[in-house]
């Protein structure tokens, strides 16, 4: 319930959400993406749409249809837009276009505002010239270094939208349409972020054999080279020379990422028999375990080489944990260096920052508390809701100052 957030963000924040929502009375917001389950977009929509409804906004959610072949192509597009090397063929483009054409014909576009998420349904905007309406494209992907062929293919559709939304300033492109910055968010009431009793935390530590009597440094992330797991171990080993502590590297493998098993094997090999390094393969759906590991940690690391937004950082900050993270993707938005955490650029810098925090617990506590407040005002789902409400209202008001 929307009112459940009141003790966390304050009554006035919820009152303002209700007030903004009343200004959208009579408008239908039609969200369109490619799946109801799995993936970050579906997770956000599954929380966001019910909350919008509770605010009396008529928000609905539809998905496009597509064959396995179509989704293989969209996966390739996704990776290519993220800057990964992908071989995209003409046939891939024609599969994408044909399926999109079918969806254009079959999908009922009834919303006053049609809110399209990610590239899969991007072509639907071609119907704008027939049906009008307001169209928004929400790009959840880091397109700062996209595969040009894919970007140039998508761009003629993107520019037909009334507005585009990106998660970080660096993700935006020069486009002839309005672009907005809306960061993703975490839900403080979800299993991954809610308060846990000490008993639960202790039982998770006991389950994985992690000692409680020394500081715990944790990185929670998929087994992916971009998360630099080997770099994390190397930084930890530098710290461990002078300070007795443990490292927990907790994450899962992704079924759509053939590399993840290889990375896991390499990490395990690199960790070797070091009793202070705990490499944990956490099964999907173990949000409470992840939550407990984060809460049990002394410091949380996110030493990624590349990130979409890196919401695990906000998850850690929300638990008032001091964070050491790389300045990539959306991380600098979450970690303001020396105020809400420490930013680092290499293994040596990460080790230095870890030592600094382990030997200065008061400073670490101050950073953690600032981090929690930073997340409270900037990265919780209530701020995300407010931004979406404002985004919808902005479509009717092109000025920089809007009087509602």
């Amino acid at each position: 319930m929307i009112s459940d957030y009141e003790p966390i963000v304050g009554r006035s924040t919820i009152e303002e959400l209700r007030l903004l929502a009343t200004k959208l009375s009579g408008k239908v917001i039609q969200n369109i993406n490619s799946t109801f389950t799995g993936g970050g977009v579906a997770e956000i929509l599954s929380r966001m749409v019910p909350l919008l409804e509770q605010l009396s906004v008529d928000a609905r959610w539809n998905i496009i249809k597509g064959s396995a072949e179509f989704f293989q192509v969209t996966k390739k597009f996704h990776n290519a837009l993220h800057g990964r090397k992908e071989k995209i063929t003409d046939r891939d483009f024609s599969i994408f276009t044909e399926t999109s054409q079918r969806n254009m014909e079959e999908m009922e576009l009834y919303g006053d505002i049609i809110f399209v998420h990610d590239p899969q349904p991007v072509i639907l905007v071609s119907r704008k010239k027939d049906i009008g309406k307001k169209w928004i494209w929400r790009c959840h992907i880091d397109v700062s270094h996209p595969n040009e062929a894919v970007w140039q293919f998508l761009k003629p559709f993107v520019v037909q939208y009334d507005a585009a939304v990106f998660s970080a300033p660096a993700f935006s492109r020069q486009l002839p349409i309005r672009q907005f910055l809306i960061s993703p968010s975490i839900d403080p009431l979800s299993d991954k972020n809610k308060e846990l009793p000490q008993q639960t935390i202790d039982s998770v530590l006991a389950k994985y054999g992690i000692p409680k009597d020394k500081p715990i440094i944790t990185q929670v992330s998929r087994f992916d080279y971009l998360k630099d797991p080997i770099g994390v171990i190397e930084a930890f080993e530098l710290v461990r020379k002078s300070i007795d502590c443990s490292l927990v590297f907790a994450g899962g493998t992704a079924s759509d990422d053939p590399e993840s098993d290889k990375v896991l094997a390499e990490v395990k090999e690199r960790a070797g028999i070091n009793p202070d390094i705990h490499v944990l393969l956490i099964p999907p759906g173990s949000d409470i375990e992840i939550n407990a590991l984060q809460r049990a940690s002394t410091i949380i690391v996110q030493k990624s080489l590349g990130e979409g937004f890196g919401l695990t950082v906000s998850e850690a900050l929300w638990k008032a944990k001091p964070v050491v993270a790389s300045a990539v993707g959306g991380i600098p938005l979450q970690v303001k260096n020396k105020i809400t955490g420490l930013l680092s650029y290499g293994i040596g810098g990460t080790a230095f920052a870890l030592r600094q925090l382990l030997t200065n617990p008061q400073y670490a506590k101050w950073l953690g508390e600032n981090g929690r407040e930073h997340v409270r005002y900037n990265f919780l789902i209530t701020r995300h809701l407010r931004d979406y409400l404002l985004l919808f209202l902005t479509l009717e008001h092109p000025q920089d100052i809007i009087y509602l």
């Binding site: 006035s12 303002e16 007030l19 935006s172 907005f180 404002l390 100052i401």
Partner: protein, 453 residues
């Protein structure tokens, strides 16, 4: 059989002495009550006394006659019915007086608390019925008629009535208590521990009406007022010519797609950028980190120091005190001139690494009314405790600089609508950029509370 003269004289003497004593006692009680009513300003009491004037004479007569009868030597066959007769007359006259008094009080308080006419009639009739039943029971007791059945019936009726009026009765009695003790009066500003607050506009027989800060009327059952801790701030302060209506503001960040990787690019784009860009980059830190004591810094200074490693220029840009500037145009000119002065004598300097370029963004503000309104300083300070940080931010920062009003909204209202020039200027002198938003709220509240005292 002759009757001794004493048999006649003694009862008459007892009757006369008792009568004198009773009148003396009546006078004393009357005077005492009069003084007590005066002292406690109980208007209803003044109305009571004249009602009792005639009946109290009758009671004196009945009691004196009864005492005379008791000492007389009349035969028991005469004495007993006469005594019972006197008691009956006494009870009936007490009942008639009670009916008059309680009916009068019901009407008096009913009108005072704006009790609906039908409720007043029902209450009056219920009171009358109760008095009649009690008198009837008394009279039956006097004449030795069994009363058990009637007594049980009355108890059942009373219980049923108590059940029916279980919610109303406490409120009614609380209303009497509130009126008698004068703890809360119409016009007082009260705050309940449960959060309701505002000026008392009406005290009715069962509820009290409070005008809240959002101008809605809160109806609080009287019994709740007595059960809760209440802060009573007393009577209204000087009324403003126009109420202060609080607005709030929230914003969305719009990306311009423009980015700079060195000083020349930074200054060239800054010169052309709309005011909304200048506003965003000089207030972003404050908006996102308002829980910290803010760095007196803007995004340009932070970027020049961190991404270009030029701490000298970074410090110069950071030293620009936003509070000194009356408009965004002048602020922009100052920032541009600092960078251009630097570039006039030095090279463009180092370029930012990839992904650390300066991204120009702008702030799209949505301003909307809140339900809060203040007509005087008390309402103003209480609303200030409740409004969102967005609302505080809007009236202090955005209206002054972005909307070009030159002064913050609070100062303008205090001076123009309330005539509180000194307080308004004191608030205008406060540099809001050196506070956290919560700290700023506290500082404003302190200043206003001090003024109210």
């Amino acid at each position: 059989m002759g009757v001794s003269w004493t048999a006649v004289v003694i009862p008459i003497a007892v009757f006369l002495v008792a009568l004198v004593a009773m009148f003396w006692l009546r006078r004393r009680i009357y005077d005492r009550l009069m003084r007590w009513f005066e002292r406690n300003r109980w208007e209803a009491g003044k109305m009571l006394l004249p009602t009792l004037r005639t009946p109290s004479i009758l009671w004196n007569l009945f009691i004196s006659a009864y005492l005379g009868l008791v000492v007389s030597i009349l035969p028991a066959a005469w004495k007993s019915p006469t005594g019972k007769g006197l008691w009956t007359l006494f009870l009936v006259s007490v009942a008639v007086s009670a009916v008059n008094i309680l009916s009068g009080l019901t009407v008096f308080y009913g009108q005072k608390f704006r009790m609906p006419w039908h409720a007043m009639l029902v209450t009056r009739n219920v009171v009358r019925v109760i008095i009649i039943i009690v008198t009837l029971l008394g009279v039956m007791e006097v004449w030795g008629v069994p009363t058990t059945h009637l007594f049980v019936f009355v108890i059942v009726v009373i219980l049923a009535a108590a059940l029916a009026f279980r919610d109303t009765a406490p409120n009614l009695f609380a209303g009497f208590q509130l009126s008698a003790t004068q703890q809360i009066k119409v016009g007082d500003y009260i705050k309940l521990e449960t959060g309701e607050e505002g000026y008392v506009t009406e005290i009715r027989w069962n509820s009290t009406h409070i005008k809240a800060l959002d101008e809605s009327i809160i109806i609080v059952p009287n019994s709740r007022l007595l059960q809760r801790t209440i802060i009573n701030y007393g009577h209204p302060l000087k009324q403003a010519k126009e109420p202060f209506r609080f607005s709030s503001r929230t914003h969305l960040t719009e990306l311009t797609g423009l980015k700079a990787k060195n000083l020349r690019e930074l200054v060239d784009i800054l010169k052309m950028a709309p005011d909304a860009v200048v506003y965003y980059h000089t207030h972003r830190f404050l908006e996102q980190h308002h829980y910290l004591t803010p760095e007196p810094s803007n995004d340009f200074a932070i970027w020049v120091s961190d991404a270009l490693g030029n701490e000298v220029l970074g410090e110069r840009l950071a030293s620009v005190d936003t509070f000194e500037f009356p408009s965004l145009g002048v602020l922009r000119e100052r920032l541009v001139s600092i960078i251009e002065e630097y570039l006039a004598t030095r090279s463009n300097g180092r370029e930012a690494m990839e992904e650390r370029e300066f991204h120009f963004m702008k702030s799209v503000s949505a301003i909307f009314p809140t339900p809060y309104a203040a007509h005087d300083l008390r309402e103003f300070v209480e609303a200030l405790r409740k409004i969102s940080l967005g609302s505080l931010y809007f009236h202090i920062f955005e209206s002054r600089l972005r909307l070009g009003r030159g002064l913050n909204d609070f100062t303008i209202w205090l001076k123009d609508s309330l005539g509180e020039t000194e307080l308004g200027e004191e608030i205008a002198r406060l540099d809001p950029y050196t506070y956290t938003l919560e700290g700023l709220r506290s500082a404003l509240i302190q200043l206003i509370e001090k003024r109210i005292k």
